[in-house]
Every structure is written in C-alpha cells, then in structure tokens.
C-alpha cells in the first residue's frame, strides 16, 4: 500500500495544496505510485483515488492524458530521444535509427531482457545540445545532453551508457541511473 510505504512523502505532497483541493496532489502522487515499477497499476490508481477523493476512472484519465505516466510495464529504463525539429536538423532521426538497430529493436520497443525501451519524444528543451535524450526510470528523469562527437560516436557512447545501466541494475535495483557515465548532465 502506498499510504504505508510513503507516509512521509504523501504528507509532504498534501501540504503543498489547500486541504479543500486535495486532487491537486494527483500528479505528484502518481509519480510516487510509479516509482519502483515504472508503471501505475490499477490497484495504485484506486488507492490514489481513495486518498484524494477521486474515482479510479478519473485517476486513470490523468494517467492516460500525460505522457510520462505508464499504465503497463515496459523497459526498466526508457531512453527517450528528442526527434523534434531542432534536434532533427542535427541528426536526431539518424541517431534514433542507429541506436535502435544496434539494440535490435524498433523505436518504441523494449529489448528482450526487459531493460531498455527506446522511444522518440517531443522537444525536451535542450535544443542547443542536439541530438540528446533523457533516461526515465524508477529513480526519476535524467538528461543526457552533454555528448560530443558525430552521430556514430554518440550512438557508441549511448550503448556504453546502456551497458552501465544494465550493470547498475544487476548490482542494485534501486540505484539511480549510471552516475559515472560520460555525457550525462553533471549538475548534482
């Protein structure tokens, strides 16, 4: 149950909003529900609804509307490549295709080990670093926007990062995405 597992965090989330407008907390609550599993189960939707005074259907509509929530399991790590205009002008489509073919999947698909989903996404507000991507996982979202070199080199770097993610995941299932890999956003 989320209420027991995340009691402190739920309290902190609810305190942000006026008590008579509890449903404002639905988005942060869904991020909480999605933590660990990388998707929101029907049971979790029902519990979030019960906490906030919303029907399960109402909560499900929020999950369906916003693209960063998932209602079924996919890869443990989502490599989300921006293929919007500014990135496309600098080779993002080629990057996506090459990366997918090296992984033996098509865009939107997940590797057979269930670890990596690669998907094209809309603009991530890092157009000056194009092409770039983010990694969404149970630990949150991380920009990988400091890569250099040509497209081929960037694909190689990304494959190395993916290997690092797989290794990290084997070592600990709760560890944030590879902290040592070159190219990731080093603002911590």
């Amino acid at each position: 149950m989320l209420a027991e597992k995340y009691a402190q965090e739920i309290k902190a989330i609810l305190e942000k909003y006026p008590p008579e407008h509890r449903r404002s907390a639905v988005m942060p609550m869904l991020y909480l529900a999605q933590r660990e599993k990388m998707f929101v189960s029907r049971a979790d939707m029902a519990e979030v609804g019960a906490i906030l005074g919303m029907s399960t259907t109402d909560v499900a509509s929020i999950v369906g509307f916003y693209s960063l929530y998932y209602d079924q399991p996919k890869g443990k790590y989502h490599i989300q490549v921006c293929t919007d205009l500014s990135c496309a002008l600098r080779g993002a489509d080629q990057f996506l295709q090459e990366l997918c073919s090296r992984l033996g999947i098509r865009p939107g698909e997940t590797t057979p080990d269930g670890m990596i989903t690669v998907e094209p996404v809309m603009c991530l507000a890092a157009c000056d670093r194009a092409p770039m991507f983010q990694v969404q996982s149970a630990a949150g979202l991380e920009y990988v926007d400091k890569q250099s070199g040509d497209i081929h080199q960037r694909v190689e770097n990304t494959l190395a990062l993916i290997e690092q993610l797989r290794a990290d995941s084997g070592a600990s299932s709760r560890k944030p995405a590879a902290q040592t890999s070159a190219g990731r956003n080093g603002h911590d």
């Binding site: 942000k16 006026p18 407008h21 509890r22 449903r23 404002s24 907390a25 639905v26 988005m27 942060p28 869904l30 991020y31 906030l52 919303m54 509509s61 929020i62 509307f65 916003y66 693209s67 960063l68 929530y69 919007d84 205009l85 500014s86 496309a88 002008l89 600098r90 996404v121 809309m122 603009c123 991530l124 507000a125 890092a126 157009c127 000056d128 194009a130 983010q134 949150g140 979202l141 991380e142 920009y143 956003n185 603002h187 911590d188």
Partner: protein, 430 residues
C-alpha cells in the same frame, strides 16, 4: 548582454550563483527587501509598468498591466510561475533556473508581494525533474534564511513557494490549461474570458508569468524602470534571452537587447551556418512560427515585438530556429505537424482533427507520394482550423503550413513532381 554585463544570465559571469550566499553577496534579495520595506504593492506594480517589461513566454503582454488586472475583491490570490518550457526550439528558462535560480525565485517573491499572494507555485514540465529537485532545495534554503515563510522582514506578509511537476504535455504551457493541471485535472484550456487575474487557480485571482519575465524583476526593482528602458527599443524595452538552434555553428542562449537584428544573432553570436550553406528560412518563435524567408531584409530586421511581423513572423518566445538550404520545407512542416498532432489536447475538434489530418497529409507530401490535390487539401484544412479553437495551439499549428505553402511553393511542387515521375515510370514499366 549590456555594456555592464548580463541582466538575466548572470551565472555566466558570477561563479556559483546558484548558491544562496553567493547570490546574496551580489545583491541578491535586496530588491525583494526593498519592495517589501519601502514600497506598497501597487508601487511595485507601477514600477514594473514603467519599465515596459512584456511577458517573455511568447505573448508579449505588458507584465505590470497584467498584475493591475488582479481582482482585489476576491481572495486569496495566487502566483503561478510558468516553467513548462516545451516549445520546440526554446531552452532559455531551463538555463535561467539551472544557473541563476535565486534571481528567478526572487522574481516570484516580488510578483507575489505585488499582488499580495501568500502561495506561489512553480509549474515545471515533468522532464525538469532534476531541476525541480534542486529548486526544492533552494526554496528550503530561502526558508532557512528567513526569505520565505511568515512575517517577512518584520511585516505581516508571508509567502510560501511550491514546485509542481507536470508530466509531459505541451498544452500545459497555456496558462489556463496549466491551472487546470495544477488543480489535478486534464491539462485542457478554459474558455476565456474570464482571464486568470479574475478567475485563476481554484477560481481565485491568479497571475501566471513566465520564468524569464519573473527573472527580470529583481533587476528592475534594484536599478529602476529608467535603467531597464535604456536597453532595447521604445516599445520593446529590455533584454531578451534568444534561444538559437537548428542549422548554426554555435547553438545556444544569447542574452541581447530586444531589437538586435537576426543577422547579428545568427552570424556574430551563432557563428553562421555549417559548411557555409545559405539560410533558407527562419522560425523566430519555435515550431509555432511562420516560416520567414531569410532574405537580406529579414536578416536585417530587429528582433522585437513590433518589427518581426513586418517580415511575416512573430517574436514569440524568441526561439530562433535556423533552416538552411539543404532542408526540404514539406519535411520540416511534417515535423512540426507531428508535434502538434501529438500535443493537441483533444478538446476542440478543429485542432484535434485538423492536426491529425495535416500530419497525415504532410507525411504523404514529404514522402513524395502526394498529388497537387493533397497540397490543396492541406491548405484547406489549415484554413478550417484558423480562429476556431479555445487556445492558440491550433492557431500555432497552421503558421508553418500556410506560410510554407505561400512562401516556399516550389518545394511543394518538387515534392508533387516526385509522385508524378514515379507514376509515369510505373506506367512505362507496364
């Protein structure tokens, strides 16, 4: 950038400006303190009005005037900072919040004091997850330092700031959709009027301002409206962060006075176009732009709210995407339509259906599988969307389509000729 240094991107000149002590050592929060201890709320609004500051999110609405519309008969008031930066080609707010976060947060506090809001929300796009985590820490540091909380500077005024993460929906950058989202609903725009200063968050008077707009406020309060007006043009005063991307050697954010010509941004600051290619078109407001033909007249046009329309565009959020002569315009329009189809919230039929069919048609055209009837149908659909939607998304989606069809018709002719050639050769083979 001004002769005296940066106004907004000050972190490029001052190391560790994202540290509260460093920020305060450089005058940080003196403007907020001055506003609170020396000025009445209405005087703060008057000063912002006098500065001529206009909204930096895209609409360019005068900031002080927006504040003066707040309904003082209905309480409480709210402030919402629009940090949902999602327009393709726009990446300025992210740099401001990463590098100079306290100047932005001080701006939020000044705005909140001016409209007497005791709660302010920073609505960040979900992808700014790491950034939101840092802002939470910075807000906590401000609370510890007595810059947020109850009875600030010995007054009766108190303020709290909260972050709120979106979850991947461009439409939430539209202010009423943002308010719906913050209320825990689908991010779909409201019918306006009423506008947020009279009916906003939870139906209460609310000011929604963009991150860059807010980041200007501490500098305006500290140095005065006259000082701010010394930059830029008479009708578009001040500085602007221009996000430069696409076919340029040095993409990035450039802080420049409003009214700087396109040519200076692209060639002096952006280092020109790779491999010496020619510029074919400019989009000045991200994917929501009309395609401006990049002739000498356009390149010499000052980038301000009044001048860009003279060459058939809008300044918008000043997200300048450079398109060189190797780019096919039907391909480009298909890219932008793919975006708008994905991001249409589905509330208004002309936008939901129009973006779907325009994406379908532009895909066919860009793949060389279309006929002239398809091109005419595209124009027809675009014209059917115009003026029929609750918010600007539908309107934005047709900007590149209609301007592209009108100004780059030879690209469409070429795409259609590919189809004809293919059909002819099939005929011969038979």
């Amino acid at each position: 950038m001004t002769e005296n240094g940066m106004v907004l991107l000050r972190h490029r000149e001052i190391q560790d400006l994202d540290n509260l002590d460093v920020y305060r050592a450089h005058g940080g929060f003196e403007a907020f303190q001055k506003a609170m201890t020396q000025l009445k709320p209405a005087e703060v609004t008057d000063m912002v009005k006098a500065s001529g500051l206009r909204g930096r999110g895209g609409a360019g609405f005068p900031t002080g005037m927006k504040w003066s519309f707040i309904d003082n008969k209905n309480w409480p008031h709210y402030v919402v900072a629009n940090a949902d930066e999602s327009e393709p080609g726009t990446f300025k707010d992210r740099e401001i919040m990463e590098g100079n976060p306290y100047q932005f947060l001080e701006g939020v506090a000044i705005c909140a004091y001016a409209v007497q809001a005791h709660e302010a929300y920073v609505y960040l796009r979900g992808e700014f997850w790491q950034l939101a985590g840092r802002l939470d820490q910075q807000i906590a540091a401000m609370e510890t330092a007595g810059l947020l909380g109850e009875k600030l500077f010995g007054s009766d005024y108190g303020l709290r700031i909260h972050t709120h993460l979106g979850a991947g929906a461009y439409i939430c950058g539209e202010e009423t959709a943002m308010l719906e989202s913050l209320e825990g609903k689908l991010g779909q725009p409201r019918l306006r009027p009423p506008f947020p200063p009279s009916f906003g968050l939870y139906g209460k008077p609310t000011i929604v301002n963009n991150v860059e707009t807010l980041a200007n406020l501490p500098m305006i309060l500290a140095h005065g409206a006259e000082w701010y007006r010394s930059f830029g043009t008479e009708k578009s005063p001040g500085v602007k962060v221009f996000s430069l991307s696409g076919c340029v050697n040095k993409p990035g954010n450039y802080e420049l006075p409003l009214g700087t010509p396109f040519r200076e941004l692209i060639f002096e600051h952006g280092g020109g176009v790779p491999e010496g290619r020619k510029i074919k078109a400019i989009m000045s407001a991200g994917a929501s732009s009309a395609l401006i033909v990049a002739d000498d007249r356009a390149l010499d046009t000052p980038m301000d709210y009044e001048s860009v329309p003279n060459v058939g565009g809008q300044l918008g959020s000043a997200s300048v995407i450079v398109i060189d002569d190797s780019v096919s315009i039907p391909w480009l329009i298909n890219k932008t339509m793919h975006f708008f189809r994905h991001e249409s919230c589905g509330k208004c039929t002309p936008c939901r259906e129009g973006t779907f069919w325009m994406a379908h048609l532009t895909e066919r055209i860009s793949q060389g599988k279309a006929t002239m009837e398809d091109v005419q149908l595209l124009e027809d659909v675009a014209n059917q969307v115009r003026g029929k939607c609750l918010c600007a998304l539908g309107e934005f989606s047709i900007e590149a389509v209609l301007s592209g069809l009108e100004r780059f018709s030879s690209d469409f002719d070429a795409a259609v000729n590919v189809t004809q050639a293919a059909e002819t050769s099939v005929g011969v083979a038979d």
